[in-house]
Structure formats: structure tokens, C-alpha cells
Point group: C2
Chain length 110, copies 2
DNA sequence: TTTCTGTATAACGAAATCGTTATATAACGT
DNA sequence: ACGTTATATAACGATTTCGTTATACAGAAA
């Protein structure tokens, strides 16, 4: 098991401690996601989504792949926090992650 | 394994996402701690310590035991987040949790 | 009762957070 | 070139966070 300093770990937990970001990560649990899918899925503006993605990226939790004009994000399996993130996501219920999801959100299937 | 909603989990992660609170929890990992020991251990004021403890209590993570004028806090093993907290604490390095600990902090032993 | 120690709360300020709208940039299609 | 779509950044405001100092409360001891 990898060990972390209090500073490192608390920084990551702070990033995870937002319902929108946590729900975004949940959507990336199994597949990569296009940034635009988050815009459809959450009832916040596209710039707000973009900033959340930036925070997740800066925490080292995400990798991106550009395909034409779309940018696909996925979990960074090489992050020292990847095991932790996966375990947390495993404890997150599906359906309507934030109560803010639009009807097109692919996480809400029930 | 217990499951949590995104809302619940993100709320707890937010509480955990502060270096002082995470270090406080680390000190309670094995033993209960008197509130005053945190005051000695961190370079912030007593009221600041008190507010951090209140947040941890309100998140359901702590239980308290009054003994004369001292209040001893310990992890709430009945919290649905207790297993998660313990696992996180297991990934936290000891020594000088925040870089802010005073020389009397009992966590820094090396 | 007064005093001391331990803890909590009130009131305040600086900085961070998280949303918005407006605008810029990148890549595609016509 | 131009318009459209996808994404990022800038600028701003409301709210939250986290520290402080001052004060209140609780219990012990003189």
C-alpha cells in the first residue's frame, strides 16, 4: 500500500470533496468520458465543468486524450491515489449522483 | 461494504480534506485524545482547534467523553464512514503531520 | 467566592471556492 | 474565409472556509 503525507492526502481529499467532481469521477470509473458529456449531465455551465476538470487534472487524477475537437478524460491509473479513488468510487451509489443531473446523464439509468 | 451517496461521501471527504483535521484524526487512530493535546500539537489557536473538532463531530466521525474539565475525543466506530476513515489513516505517514506541529506533539516521535 | 484551567462561541477579516457571463482558442465543415 | 462546435480562460460576485481576538461557560481548587 502506498503511503502519503497528510498534506498530499488532504489536498486530494479536498478535490474529491465536491459532489460534482465526485460524480464526474464516478462517470469515468469504467470508461473515458468526453468533456461535453459532463456538460450535458450536470446542471452547471460549461466553464464550471471545465474548471472542475482542471482541478481533477491538476491533482493528477485524470489523463486526457484529444480526438478532433473532443477531449476525452479518463482516470490516471498511474496516480499514487488511483487505488484510493477507485475504492471510493466503489462505495458510491449509482443513480442521480448529485440530484443535479439532467435527464440525458448516462449514469442515471434506472 | 457500505455504499454512500455522492452527496454524503463528498461531504465527509470535504471534512477530511483539511490537513489539520486529517492530522487530528491520525492522532486519534489508536487512542482517544484530549482536546487540549491538539492545542499543544498544532500551531493554531484553541478556538480554531475547537471548530475543527466541531466539524469532525458534526460529520459523525467523533465521539466525546467528558472527564472533569477535560473532553476526550475518539473515532466513532459506529459511523458508516469509520472503515473509510481508518483506511485513509492507514495510508497517512506519521511524523510531523502538517509541518505545523509543535515539539510537544506526540505523533512526531522520530 | 474567587481564581485557574479547559473548552466553546461570537464577531470579524482574508482568502479560497464555486457559480456566473463574456470572450478566446482549437478544430471541423461548408 | 466563414460559421459552428468543443473547450479553456478571464473577470466578477456570493458564499464558505479558516484563521484571529475577545468573551462566555464549565468544572476544579484555593
Amino acid at each position: 500500500m502506498d503511503m502519503h503525507t497528510v498534506e498530499e492526502l488532504s489536498k486530494v481529499l479536498k478535490v474529491l470533496g465536491d459532489p460534482t467532481r465526485l460524480a464526474m469521477l464516478k462517470q469515468m470509473e469504467t470508461d473515458e468520458q468526453c468533456a461535453c458529456s459532463f456538460v450535458d449531465c450536470f446542471d452547471i455551465s460549461q466553464p464550471a465543468i471545465s474548471r472542475h476538470l482542471k482541478m481533477l487534472r491538476q491533482a493528477g487524477l485524470l489523463l486526457e486524450r484529444r480526438d478532433k475537437q473532443w477531449i476525452h478524460y479518463r482516470l490516471n491509473e498511474a496516480s499514487p491515489f488511483y487505488p484510493l479513488v477507485m475504492e471510493l468510487l466503489g462505495q458510491v451509489e449509482l443513480h442521480d449522483p448529485t440530484g443535479t443531473s439532467a435527464s440525458t446523464c448516462n449514469v442515471k439509468s434506472s
